[in-house]
Symmetry: D2
Subunit: 370 residues, 4 copies
């Protein structure tokens, strides 16, 4: 039982890769937010595969259906259920994988946990397809943050296959992220990344990557100390995206190499506001926003489904075996994960903004725009 | 409201650095576990400062008091409350810091969030001292895992100030971790780390570091997919330790540089059991344990309290200021955090082991040992 | 944010009376339970209106659609989403009620809480129609309890409009409840109740009633003390059914008139089992089942929608007003609420049975029947 | 695991009747509330036994100790831990009860659930003594409601042993409740109740009773629909008090005998405010406050510990047995439960008032009085 997330802005995920649909229920969205399928569809389209040569060729047309919680164009305070139907499904390649778990996938763990009852087609409940639900919910969270607090959440790929992007400003990310298929704000690095992905893809291999997400501007005082820290909740949210294996904030694991004198962010006053000169803390101290942009990064392992032969075991015979995974897979999942990372971060920030009293229960002024 | 953590094995933390005590309530521990203050004290002693020259000189004698939940030497199923009193407190240095937030500390964020009502003495609720409660609770979790499932949770410092330990086996960690003041399993690296800490300390500076934690052996099938993944819950738990800014599993952020063919762990059969040849996944796939040891790492930023002058602002006057932090502080917090990391990981694994049905509600056989 | 319920077997409700659909997500159902739309439809049909002259004439054909969580006829451990579409909707009568809250309904409270954004058509989110989702979820819970623990949950109307049924055995309820339109196990009382409802209905009035629910047989040891007591969770579940204003267990509010010597249930041994001679405690002591059948009762207030004129206020003008409610309404909601009460009680008992370790995470033996 | 309660204002209970202490942690109290042990002690004193001839003679001096969460006289936003030590304990009478469960008590259910590990002395965790923790937490909630919203929570005994008090106004309750040992607002009824309790007590018997609680004044819009209704949460809270077997709101189970035309509360306008003419709904519609006082009642069964011989079983021999309970017990628990009922209702209302945005995270204006 682990398909709900959030305290005040809570999402419940359902659906499988090759079942009837993938969906999400958002509970706790304040009443009075202007919302339509159009807004959500825009984010959903960014997650869609088949947007370029380097993404999987499954045609997920993914039309959002808004089933509840919106009346006369505004949220009502009631739970918002959204679904996308599954179409263009081809489950045949998975029949042979039924008893031979794919290395790097959840197949074996799922088999043990659910005693063989799990829907194995397309990874079932463990598929990246589930994140379509995250994106729909995140779309509502992003709109809420934008309308009420002018907060924007933006992500891009900052590393793929060892190629690192140079540091980019929030404005550069905004401008460049959708301009290249690897969604990297550094256009030079983007070209190298694209080339690396294509090379790996050609030989049936895949690449890992890192997505960076920035929340900007964000008022100080959002978050909680001890257990429900912004870092704790954002990391928990990010690890719910399949393939994420590392989450860091600000200077992150680089802190291990720094001295305190080089890592503390000095407080300064700019235009009458308290800010820090640098932002190595990634905008969070004591689990609470300090007024600087939140900066976090999630590392995705290379797509485990490979065209190359891999060693595994046959659970029915108990013997070792070799598989070669067919089906359609992204050679590097990070670019497609960009809107998913944005969604998860937005969900947590919206949740904490409500919990911390920054967003009211009813959004007055019925004219908040699309 | 964020002082409780866990679903089935749930802890609630309370207390402040310079208040009367620090404590914890453990709710959900099965009945029938042999438990005494002696067991808990052992872990608590490992967290104590003043164990060597490189740790803070505050004398935290820290005697655990078991206030509830244990009867005739066994847990009863009722909540277990444990406290340690605060002694040897010197709050004077903090009076001057009242309106000048220390860079890198939670002071400013706390000031904004709690409107000036927060207890600022010694960092109050944001102090590392709070982790004494985590360690007491973690001690119960470790005992539970050991008695019922033979699972051990062990941590050590794998990097300090850029000095990395070589990879160590579980047995090497067990043997070496308490043999050197930096708690590193690689004794050669340990010496260099110690030297680095001492050098930083001499000039009033501090160092960051990374703690690695291994859970071994662990059965496959513990954990949940989607939101309550093992990774998500472990990371959330680790980010609740002050100063943690990065959490990774297995190959972690290195995945960003790897190809799939080099990062998937091939399944093999050893002695009739399904295992993986390598363990780059860190024992977790799809949020669920796969039968290999769980491996995670948390990076701690350098202690922000420095003897060096630092730029800050005076919140009462609204002007920039300079502070120099007095008081007693560890020049590198990572070694002391080793038992805290173990505690947090143990809490999550115990919680999930109960949720996944691996630990019963009553532990029969009244002879489970100390 | 209050549309989820349960700890281990958790439901999330969504949908409105006159929106696109009403639905529910069940999270935490063990894998391996045989489940089909047919099983759920059977319970849903019992909730349907227009089953007799004394129920509302809205034709809710209510075909369940199982959207997720079931694969090859068995639950997979993934969340189960079920919806029924809304058809035969006539929203016109509600337009005039928009600013004149109906006495006894939630209209005014909803208006204040959601700032006028709530969907007012047919009561929107506050409509009894929402309970179609409860019934679908309860159907899964009842099947789970029956298959794994042989536990049955059965309800009937024990009082309507002051007419009380005589005490009935579990077997009598089973035999008689569906044999009369008021769903009362005492067939003589049932006739009088029916007559009373018809009389009230004729003059545009309505009647209150009480539904009794029995869980039988139930093993001792299910439940928790202090806050998550069986009584606490069952009552919370029952108060989520619109119109419930009283919940009692065993002798209930009669205890206020009894002496201890007449109210304690003496322990006896029957066929080697510890039982109580009487069952005034309603099968629960200290929040935990004691091995005797659980007995609880929920009182429903009379349907507030009346054909008679009622005094209210016009929120747009701020003046007093008179309304006469059109639309289709049950003159007594209690008979239709019988399967809803069963559903809510079954949900709580299933939840606690899992939490207390009585139901495993995977139901082995793939032949558990329909 | 069921020792925490509440969403935004959350309490965690710990301690046993004959252990070292009874305590509570309050998490989520806003910063800036003036709070001292004196305030809490006042409520605690009202719960104390030995206040008159008709209460148990155990001397529970019950001095509250405030261990955390308050600094310089104000709450800090950190968790507030409060304990009372257990003194004047005599555990001897319980040794013989160890294997013979007392009828009407939780002994047998606890024995089954905790496999014989539960602390049986004085009822252990199931004792009414646990409610000392509820009262301390409730005291904080009551102060918060009073200071911020001018909301008062007041209870009295409205029925004992079949003797009903006449309906009393809020002011009559306030004036009379502490003026007589049965805490009944109707002084005539109070005398008869007292006599009835004394008569039952003389023969070793006990009486049940009903406590009514009123929350007044209360703004409209507090609460939530569906699962976290005010009724659901208040009832869950009240069923956590040992011996409660029935909870009702407004006309409660009387609704079963009413027609809609006699039970709906007509809306009227008084001094420009929307009110209802009557208050049969008990101030709650759709789970949300409607602006009228909240009225609820909890029925307590007669104290199960009797001086009379009772039939039970000997769990060690498996044979039937007879016990006569020694020790000190209230012949009617309802009068002492009055402050406990107030506490539980106050906790829920405070929790919902925060969740609904009626109480801010920081209470500005440092002069909120004692």
């Amino acid at each position: 039982m682990s398909n709900s997330f959030g305290r005040c802005f809570r999402i419940t995920s359902f659906g499988e890769s090759h079942g009837r649909c993938v969906g999400v229920v958002v509970d706790g969205c304040p009443a009075g937010l202007k919302l339509s399928e159009k807004v959500i569809q825009r984010d959903l389209d960014r997650r869609r595969p088949a947007q370029s040569l380097i993404t999987s060729s499954r045609d997920e047309s993914d039309r959002v259906e808004l089933l509840s919680g919106v009346f006369q164009g505004y949220t009502t305070g009631a739970p918002i259920c959204m679904v996308v139907e599954n179409v263009d499904i081809d489950s045949r390649p998975y029949e042979k994988l039924k008893s031979t778990p794919r290395p790097g996938h959840a197949d074996y763990a799922a088999y043990i946990k659910y005693g063989g009852f799990a829907d194995y087609r397309g990874g079932g409940r463990f598929s990246g397809r589930i994140t379509a639900g995250f994106v729909m919910a995140g779309s509502v969270a992003k709109k809420l943050l934008k309308e009420v607090l002018q907060v924007e959440v933006l992500a891009h790929c900052c590393e793929i296959g060892g190629i690192k992007a140079k540091e980019s400003t929030f404005e550069e990310i905004k401008m460049n992220v959708e301009e290249n298929p690897v969604r990297c704000a550094d256009l030079e690095a983007a070209e190298k990344m694209l080339q690396a992905v294509e090379e790996a893809s050609k030989v049936g291999d895949s690449l890992g990557g890192t997505v960076e997400c920035i929340v900007n501007p964000i008022p100080a005082g959002i978050g909680d100390p001890i257990f429900n820290t912004l870092e704790g909740d954002i990391s928990k949210a990010l690890f719910s995206i399949p393939a994420v294996k590392s989450v860091e904030f600000g200077a992150g694991n680089l802190f291990s190499r720094l001295r305190g004198s080089a890592s503390n962010d000095a407080y300064v006053i700019k235009n009458g506001r308290v800010l820090t000169e640098t932002n190595r803390a990634g905008g969070i101290l004591g689990g609470i926003s300090n007024g600087m942009p939140i900066i976090c990064r999630a590392t995705f392992k290379p797509t485990p489904s490979l065209g190359l032969p891999q060693r595994t075991v046959d659970l029915s015979s108990g013997e070792e075996a070799v598989i070669q995974v067919e089906g359609r897979h992204d050679p590097c999942i990070a670019p497609r994960a960009v809107p998913v990372v944005e969604a998860m971060v937005a969900l947590v920030v919206a949740d904490h903004a409500i919990a911390s009293g920054f967003i009211p229960r009813v959004i007055r002024g019925r004219d908040n725009g699309v």
